[in-house]
Subunit: 446 residues, 2 copies
């Protein structure tokens, strides 16, 4: 009897738990799911799963639970994975996570391999499904002997058109803290037509490009973290353009940039006297002093926002000039901004989210010696605010991979991200049966 | 016989060494000066001083030398002071530095006090002379019973008018690395008319104000680090405006901001392929890709620099569009920019630098109940590229303080910055005899 340990029962875990509970019936597996908040677990599991209060910093509990499991899926915030990984190393247990492979976990490579276990990271979405679908196309192009000229990929966690009823065309469909901090992981890095490019955070949201996805309209994309890392991971050495991006609806980035320019997304210091500060005073603390100008006037003047700009509508709609008190103590600007956004961008009971992935790959045809553009896109919509598209797209690949490791369909050992055929082929195939499918199109480049 | 240990023999140490050698003759003190590069020491000392090759990471050497000294002056980069401080604690030796008091050193407060020794930081200039001259005025105003309404102070290490022959009106008169990184220590923080204000780094150089100093013309000032820290240090609780700033000549900041906006001052990551990269390609790596536009055009377009803007002249003069190779490997953008600047902003043999400090303090007169503005300014010019104004303004206060500790004129123990009368009164008095003098003026505020 195989045993599965799932750590973390946040929003992204609901579909994962459901999926693995389903297969546990078939295979007779035993599941344990734990979270600091046991009620969060209880909401998500059926009677067959053991729900526990779990504290990753309780070393004894961590070791006991890991030792009793055959496989561990860590849904904790990324910074806690190394702790889980160390325990998994200790008891030779495989570990799956949806997070970016951290430096600490990368360094465990040799020990993981020698123990015959698998640490599979970036197995959700952005990173995850995007890796798998991209590599499938890239590998196919290469197998046909064509030369890769350009690889671009964009992912966005957005709101479905039917629930899109605010001027930002955006709601909180994933971790709100990460929404506020998006782009702050160092400069965005990529290679374009052979030139390495670097965009500092304070310019990121003004360097967007427009993307049109058939049936879903226009989006704008901004560069996502360090694309250069993926040259090696995707085996794209020498390819002139390699770019990973994040999608928003058009107009979002320019308005968001106002917060970036102000310094309102800064998470590095505690502001003074925030408890009795109003939203308007929060904004004012980033503006020049004036005896006469109201805060609104100062902001529009400082940011060169014209009277007819749609940025005004977006900012006004958020209520940033309200005299509402923040009521939070010892917080950073980013935490205050998150607080303001959560009030307005919350998913409503009838809301559905939408996840979009779009790849654009250009290759030079081996026989015709002409370039051809390959687009591949996926759009998934959530069922409701619990069973979101994001939860499906994170939970299903993880669940499928966990199942395949337990049933022996995936036999790899070592530290991996899902860029290898042995993982992406069966996982993508099963994802189709769950409605997660890519539409491909090849057109000649004029 | 008292012994003095001076660690670090960079540019700022020359006057310090000369000053203490002079008084060593009078008092029969014995001096040791050390630096990683012993030749740097030998250039600066006379035969009476023991010159040694000194490595702060050589714990044995550090402990031996500290133990043999009565007082230690650390001229090392700020990050090394805690190492020296630990050794000074071990052997109960007083330590003087020109650097900002670090968190690590602050935390040694109780132990330093209980050992009866003195750790005196911020004893050069900005921080240093500025503290002393400001506190002298502030204390005097308070003793007269007036109410403080506003405290602003600006310091700039600049080039003397006679040597000012480039469009930036700037040359490297102090640590070039710190010139490039200036402003990156977190958001600038200050209080203005009772409102706490925060300026992120990427906005800092566009939030300047103009200052006119009689006989020296106009300057522009930008906010310097965390002024809020000085509310406590200067005892300015409740004062509506507290602002510390850095001075440049007008037009500097707007042009410098181009590098900030590009991301060219970023010191957090290593760029790719910099060895064979040209200056122009360095600039291009921060710009959008274009099949047609030359780098120069892209930069001016991206930064909205009009054809008649003086920013163009400044940038062109630096040679940033040259095809000169950088020739450096594994370097950050900030290191490359420093390399480009050093070529053009180097002090020439006949050049003289200039140090400017300017305070503006407003108080409400006790008897007349009207506000009055108090300005206090100091301008010091260097003798040559070795005996710079900066070297005098850093070395003299340190030397004077060291002398006064050794002769028992300063009897304090604990961790201090020179905001106490016992230090600033005698030091400022002696500085006047070296030509470092403040001109004061009081005018009513209209």
């Amino acid at each position: 009897m195989k045993r599965i340990l799932i750590i973390g029962a946040g929003r992204s875990s609901s579909i994962l738990i459901k999926y693995l509970e389903e297969y546990s019936k078939t295979y007779g597996w035993k599941m344990t799911a734990g979270d600091l908040d046991i009620n969060l677990v209880k909401e998500k599991v059926s009677a067959s799963t053991r729900a526990i209060a779990f504290d990753v910093f309780n070393e004894h509990q961590l070791n006991t639970e890991v030792q009793e499991a055959d496989i561990v899926v860590s849904m904790l915030p990324a910074r806690f994975h190394p702790l889980v990984a160390l325990s998994c190393l200790k008891y030779s247990r495989s570990m799956l996570t949806p997070s970016y492979e951290s430096h600490e976990v990368s360094e465990m490579k040799t020990r993981v391999k020698s123990q015959g276990i698998l640490f599979l990271n970036e197995m959700g979405v952005d990173p995850g499904i995007d890796h798998m679908s991209a590599m499938q196309v890239i590998d196919r192009i290469r197998e046909q002997g064509h030369e890769l000229l350009s690889f671009e990929t964009f992912t966005g966690g957005l709101i479905a058109p039917g629930s899109d009823n605010n001027p930002w065309h955006y709601k909180i469909t994933w971790n709100p803290r990460n929404i506020v901090l998006s782009g702050q992981e160092g400069p965005a890095r990529f290679v374009q037509e052979g030139t390495f490019k670097y965009i500092p955070y304070h310019r990121l949201f003004r360097r967007t490009e427009v993307i049109d996805i058939e049936g879903y309209g226009k989006f704008e994309g901004y560069a996502n973290r360090d694309s250069l890392k993926y040259i090696e991971k995707y085996n794209l050495q020498g390819v002139p353009t390699v770019y990973r991006g994040t999608l928003r609806r058009p107009g979002f980035c320019r308005a968001w940039d106002v917060f970036v320019q102000l310094g309102a997304t800064d998470d590095s210091y505690i502001m003074h006297h925030t408890e009795n500060m109003t939203y308007k005073e929060f904004i004012n603390s980033f503006l020049y002093y004036s005896r006469e100008d109201p805060v609104r006037t100062k902001l529009y003047q400082y940011m060169h926002i014209d009277q007819d700009s749609d940025v005004r509508e977006k900012l006004e709609w958020l209520g940033i000039f309200d005299n509402t008190k923040i009521g939070l103590k010892d917080v950073t600007p980013a935490q205050i901004l998150e607080h303001i956004l959560c009030r307005k961008w919350a998913l409503q009971p009838d809301d559905k989210d939408m996840l979009v992935i779009w790849h654009r790959i250009i290759h030079r045809d081996k026989s015709k010696n002409t370039p051809a553009m390959h687009t591949s896109s996926m759009v998934v919509t959530g069922d409701d605010p619990v069973n979101t598209a994001m939860s499906k797209a994170v939970g299903l690949p993880l669940g499928i991979a966990a199942k395949m490791v337990l049933t022996g369909q995936i036999k790899l050992s070592g530290v991996y991200i899902p860029t290898v055929k042995e993982i992406y082929e069966p996982v993508l195939r099963e994802l189709v049966t769950h409605g997660i499918e890519f539409k491909e199109k090849i057109v000649p480049v004029v």
